[in-house]
């Protein structure tokens, strides 16, 4: 279909050159102006995300695995899939204890874990690269160690958010983390559990993605 390519590009170039267009300058100031004081960011994120049924847990660096352990036991969650090669994955398994929620390492290709992921695993744990105050969004940055289906297929997605990694806007996060220089295979903003209003504008949660999103805030 390279014929199509060349004819399309030639036509676009010819007609654009016949009638060039001078766009107005892009002034990003209206987005850059959106700023919140440090102590306002987390409460704002929490308020926006709770409004769309996100749940929050608070923990400290020292005890987040215990807080998570207690939450899963309380909610009767039978299994949790996690990334065994990440630092957080390694922390998680230390002293997890038998007889509680089963930990399933995501240590093989998706194809080998697919039936379990879809049919039996109840929850998945991921880290985040921070969150965005303007819209109440988590930044997920899947890697070879932390695959993207961890946050997609299990019914409950638990996301670890470090309370000192908060940004004002999507634009600020992208600039400060230098995304344009190194985009991974997949980046996601996640702002709540899966939802729809396709049936008569009635909000319903848990359509195709996770039914529950739990943000585990790790305070420094």
């Amino acid at each position: 279909m390279s014929d199509a390519r060349n004819s399309i590009l030639t036509k676009l170039r010819k007609t654009r050159d016949a009638h060039p267009l001078t766009p107005p300058a892009s002034d990003f100031a209206p987005i850059e102006a959106k700023q919140w004081a440090e102590e306002e960011r987390l409460p704002r994120i929490r308020r926006l995300m709770e409004a769309v049924h996100t749940e929050f847990l608070d923990a400290a660096e020292a005890d987040w695995p215990a807080v998570l352990h207690e939450f899963l036991a309380r909610e009767g969650v039978g299994s949790l899939v996690y990334a065994p090669e990440t630092e957080e994955g390694k922390r998680l398994v230390e002293g997890w204890g038998a007889g509680s929620t089963a930990l399933i390492p995501y240590d093989r290709p998706f194809e080998d874990l697919k039936p379990q992921l879809f049919d039996s695993i109840e929850a998945g744990l991921t880290t985040t690269r921070g969150a965005i105050a303007e819209t109440g969004s988590l930044i997920l940055w899947p890697t070879a160690d932390e695959p993207r289906t961890l946050s997609l297929v299990p019914h409950i997605h638990i996301a670890l958010l470090r309370a000192d990694a908060l940004y004002d806007t999507f634009l600020q996060a992208m600039r400060e983390q230098g995304w344009a220089q190194a985009m991974p295979t997949n980046v996601l903003l996640v702002s709540g559990p899966s939802k729809t209003a396709d049936i008569e504008q009635t909000l319903a949660y848990g359509v195709h993605g996770p039914k529950r999103l739990v943000v585990l805030v790790v305070h420094p």
């Binding site: 279909m1 390279s2 399309i8 036509k11 676009l12 170039r13 654009r16 016949a18 009638h19 060039p20 267009l21 766009p23 107005p24 892009s26 209206p30 987005i31 926006l48 769309v52 995501y106 093989r108 290709p109 998706f110 697919k114 879809f118 819209t135 969004s137 890697t143 070879a144 695959p147 993207r148 997609l152 297929v153 806007t169 999507f170 634009l171 992208m174 995304w179 344009a180 985009m183 991974p184 295979t185 997949n186 980046v187 996601l188 903003l189 702002s191 709540g192 559990p193 899966s194 939802k195 729809t196 396709d198 049936i199 008569e200 504008q201 319903a204 848990g206 359509v207 195709h208 993605g209």
Partner: protein, 474 residues
Amino acid sequence: MDGNAPDFAAASHAALADPQLRGNFRRAMDGLMSKRAAQFADAGEWTGVRALAASVRLRALSKLPELLEKLEETCTRNGITVHWAATTDEANAIALDILHKTNAKLVVKGKSMVTEEMHLNAVLEKDGIEVLESDLGEYIVQLDGTMPSHIIMPAIHLNTKQIAHLFKRKIKDAESREDAAYLTDLARRVLRAKFQAADVGMSGVNAAVAETGTLCLIENEGNGRMCTTVPPVHIAFMGLEKVVEKLEDVPPVISLLPRSATGQPITTYVNMISGPRKDGEKDGPREVHLVILDNGRSNIYADPELRDTLRCIRCGACMNHCPVYTKVGGHAYEAPYPGPIGKILVPQIEGLEKRGAMPHACTMCNACVEICPVKIPIVEIMGRLRVEAVKPSGAVKGGGAKASRTEAMAWSGWAAMNASPTAYRVATLAMSKLGNAAPSSLPMLKEWTNVRTKPRFAGRTLHDLARAKGVPDV
């Protein structure tokens, strides 16, 4: 809808006579308008971000051929296979070719208006490939055997009761329950099995970033993520105008799109895809294809005034605010894109000979222009298309299709009458004396009197009355 030209007048009359349909749309559009307004309560913020988003789109259009080449280069470097299609037939052939090579039997689709434009589902089904829409609204519409009535909320024309009946009829073991939560969960169960089994996932593209070779997709349900993550092959379809120059150009677009569309601050998922599964990665598709479709867009681009049609980011807010769309609903247009943007886009893609009625289905109230997040002069373009339909410049397919000798003569008569004081005096005098005797069935008068009362002419002209009051003639 192929073959004969769609009859908008007949379809809209039928829609107007359906109180259920009108109620469904009125309720939905009222809700969407107030939710949107709440998101843009800060007028300064709206003005600033809107100007920025418009500049992003205009800058992309100013460099369109270069950015498309750059996008091809960065995508290819990222491992995405790029295909170009001049027509929908070519795009369908590309899709079929990929499906045949991967021996695909089951396709799951995320929402894509470009594939509606291509009638891709019908093409795949004819080839014996099962294709399933996974956006809940699209799934409902597919089960119902109809087409989307809104680009953001495809099943907005149906209420819960109607959907419950549809599911009961079409889904095995469905209970008869008029409960959105139950119906949603039922669709989740059906579709999860399909996501697992699918050979290929398809999606649209909200913005493609030339700088990084990234495809951005926004959605609430997670079906877009499923379609682009779980099956071994992902095919994305985009109209050639969907490119933006830099990654930084994405936040302004994402800031306005969901707020304009549904009044949400952001969609649940903003998904940015920059390639297939890399070595060492455990999931994601093995192949990612991008199909770039022209289908008349390069024609639209050629005209400096009509070019603004291509700024569109497909938020659908113009539909929500359109008094005509709200009354007749999306199906009356019989087009992939209904409402104001449809009325300017579809005639340019499909031609005025087939779609000449669409630019006239407008009161020119300007509501769509006021809320358009990228400031498309929709009403001006609508006016231009009305002119093209009778006085073709050659810029629009099917131009001149509505040209009529009677109408042309009537207007040149009108112009002559208004250009000569004597002719004007004679004509108004004649009208005041004889106008009421003219039958309402006269050829051109009939267009008016079909649906309206014939106006009564006063016995004396305004000039006459003014003169009697002592106002001097100039």
